[in-house]
């Protein structure tokens, strides 16, 4: 039966490790290009995603506004008018009846 220690055999590291370390220490400082490149990629993706979603957002907003306007137009009560003339004044008389006053100038001869 296999023992646990059989799984942990001693491994030899790749040859030339010390020479590569010397080269690294003697060489110019390493730049973390992958990290910088990744940051730029993420930023670029965010900008592209934002640009792609922008027209969609505007369209959606415009559509919602149009729908809301249609609803408000339908809900709006028609203007009060008598024979097509808007009253200039409204009064409540003694009998609690509503009295409409029209501007005579707005009335034509036919109306009279």
């Amino acid at each position: 039966m296999t023992r646990l220690e059989d799984y942990f055999s001693e491994l030899e590291p790749p040859h030339g490790g010390l020479e590569r370390l010397r080269d690294r220490l003697d060489g110019p400082p390493r730049r973390h290009l992958p990290r910088t490149a990744m940051a730029f990629s993420v930023a670029a993706m965010a900008i592209v995603a934002g640009l792609l979603s922008w027209p969609g957002t505007v369209d959606r907003e415009r559509k919602l506004l149009a729908e809301m306007e249609a609803i408000l137009m339908e809900a709006r009560t028609p203007a009060l008018a008598i024979d097509g003339h808007e009253p200039t004044e409204l009064q409540l008389d003694h009998a609690r009846a509503l009295v409409y006053w029209l501007d005579p100038k707005s009335l034509t001869a036919v109306d009279h």
Binding site: M1, T2, R3, L4, E5, D6, Y7, F8, S9, E10, L11, E12, P13, P14, G17, L18, R20, L21, R22, R24, L25
Partner: protein
């Protein structure tokens, strides 16, 4: 007295193999292991002015443990975009066919251990330091280190279905 180039190089010769064995059981990639070892020695070298040559072993181990933790966390975070196994150079050139089979089993079993238990076991196996030195590197009491190692061995034995001989 600041760390000299000779002390750094002799430290590298002395620690390269144990560090490599420790790291390989985390990353299974020779290039990654060497890169982390070099990162640790580079850090030590940059701070050589304040480093005593006699303390280099503990400092290198501490640096390697921290770098390994950081790299492992990074890999765990990005494993959902991992390359197919066929494209990843995971094999150690030193291992043969039987070694590969055992390595795969060990790799799977170790990946199922809690990180702290795995760390304790691998350090006791490969660091070549006393338990108190390892505990100091990890910043934990010796008893905690011993219990983590024990938990790791018990779990590994059940995962690998091996007998009770502890390494």
């Amino acid at each position: 007295m600041p760390l000299s180039a000779d002390e750094l190089e002799s430290g590298y010769r002395r620690l390269e193999k144990p560090l490599y064995n420790y790291l390989f059981r985390w990353f299974w990639d020779a290039a990654v292991c060497e890169d982390l070892i070099h990162d640790a020695f580079e850090r030590i070298w940059k701070r050589r002015a304040g480093i005593d040559g006699k303390r280099i072993d503990a400092l290198v181990w501490t640096a390697v443990i921290n770098l390994a933790r950081s790299r492992h966390r990074h890999l765990q975070r990005w494993k959902w975009v991992a390359l197919p196994r066929s494209l990843v150079s995971s094999a150690n050139p030193e291992t043969g066919a039987l070694g590969d089979e055992r390595e795969q089993s060990l790799r799977q079993a170790l990946s199922r251990l809690p990180g702290k238990a795995r760390e304790a076991l691998l350090l006791e196996l490969h660091a070549g330091m006393s338990r108190s030195e390892i505990a100091r590197c990890l910043g934990i009491p010796e008893g905690t280190l011993a219990s983590r190692k024990h938990a790791a061995i018990v779990r590994l034995q059940s995962l690998l279905e091996v007998n009770d001989d502890t390494p």
